[in-house]
């Protein structure tokens, strides 16, 4: 797991008159309105500016970042799953065969998250 650190909140000025009543379906409207007005400002979340720690390069070129429940990598691509399931040669042989987007994808996923029946233990 990546190491943890506080990623800083950068404070922004907030202009309440640019906001609409936001419901989920109105998040669109929020963005469009803000784009139209050329502002994209939010109130600082929790940390005041003085305590914000922006990401800095650490020694050895590492920057400490905050891992989090980000679905795009963890659930959509499923990085860890692929690694734990992959017999790389076999999986990539499939990838080569079915590499056209939307054609091979289903087959590759099949390999990654359902082991073949003979490998399943009781």
């Amino acid at each position: 797991m990546p190491q943890y650190m506080i990623a800083g909140y950068l404070p922004d000025d907030f202009d309440p008159s640019s906001m609409t009543e936001a419901t989920i379906s109105k998040i669109h409207a929020l963005n469009e309105e803000m784009d139209a007005k050329g502002v994209a400002k939010f109130a600082c979340g929790i940390s005041p500016a003085s305590s914000a720690k922006s990401l800095r390069a650490q020694p050895h070129g590492k920057v400490l970042v905050t891992d989090g429940p980000y679905l795009e990598t963890k659930e959509h691509i499923g990085g860890l799953l692929i690694l734990e399931a992959a017999n790389l040669d076999e999986a990539l042989a499939w990838a080569r065969k079915g590499a056209l987007p939307g054609v091979g994808a289903a087959e590759v996923r099949e390999i990654f998250f359902r082991p073949p029946p003979e490998a399943t233990e009781g």
């Binding site: 797991m1 005041p48 690694l83």
Partner: protein, 417 residues
Amino acid sequence: MSERSTEQIRELLDSLYRVDSGRILATLIRLLRDFDLAEEAMHEAFAAALSLWPRNGVPGNPRPWLISTARFKAIDTLRRRARFDASQDELVRYLEGQASSAERSNEEDSLEDDRLRLVFTCCHPSLAPEARVALTLREVCGLTTEEIAKAFLTTPRTLAQRIVRAKAKIRDTPIRYEVPTPQELPERLGAVLQVVYLVFNEGYSAAAGAEVTRAELTGEAIRLGRLLTELRPEPEVIGLLALMLLHESRHAARTSPTGELILLENQDRSLWNREQIAEGVALLEKALKSHRFGAYTLQAAIAAVHAEAESLAATDWRQIVALYDRLLRIQPSPVIQLNRAVAIAMCDGPEAGLAHIDALLDHGELADYYLAHSARADMYRRLGRAAEARSSYEKALALTQQEPERQFLQERIRQLK
């Protein structure tokens, strides 16, 4: 008082423990100034209740009875220690002199304040993040040392030492058992929310087939989140709870019966918990209305876009990218940029996503982050660039093999061969 059987009393006490032990412990820590003494005293009080209440009847107000009894038990304990250690005398006298304040402390307000004091103390910024997490799970959530150790893939001994050091630091600094002042509150609340977020993330990220305890961390985090929204309904507190509920809503669909992770595109969305989604969306709207929201609320908004989509194809990826843009403006994290790149790939194709991921990895910040490499591998795979995909997968695998998950991973790979 009607007489009740020991069995009924035991059930009553179990229920009281479940519901109230957190509050009682928080108050006792304030009264007794010592985590361990408070915990011991509380358990003695419950034991006393079990033996006395069948005979004497259940008190009209069980909680104050338990707190008073615990206090007396603690004084007894300290008196015993004082026989060997005169420095305890002062503490004994202090506690005995506290009789009247203990009565007053049984007011509802004060009990809620005590819970807040406990949470803020356990999450104090001068404790290391992993210490805060461990202490919070132990003292606020009531998990055992063994459970926490298992959840964080460490040994009970390591974890116990971590907690001991944290308590010592609280005692020695001293970190005062107080709710922060309004001036201190924003930063201190941030520290608490970070602990809750990290606990949730541990549970959410638990590898398929991992110990159940680890996955249950999401439930603990949500419980903590609820407590915080009761105690301090700030927009980001509400936003964080929304975020957690929305992610948790997919739990049943996310894991196969045999324990494998089911990717988003293959999840049976009818298994998504609609109540949690509805609650999460309602909380999100509340947070957004405040105009004072931040990163957690924005992450919740992204999760809500997914939650309200009927399928992967129907997901409004452009909206997700736009929300990531907003999020990056207040929290410029490369991890967030990586996830945004994946969303961009869904809008504009893997070539576009790859360009972003390459730039991120060239920058060096995510060089050791396995998800960056597996995301890149996925782009290559979709583009039919198998050799490069393989190389990226191998890099990702090598990185996870340095982690504690290594044994688990290798076992999984062994099973599949």
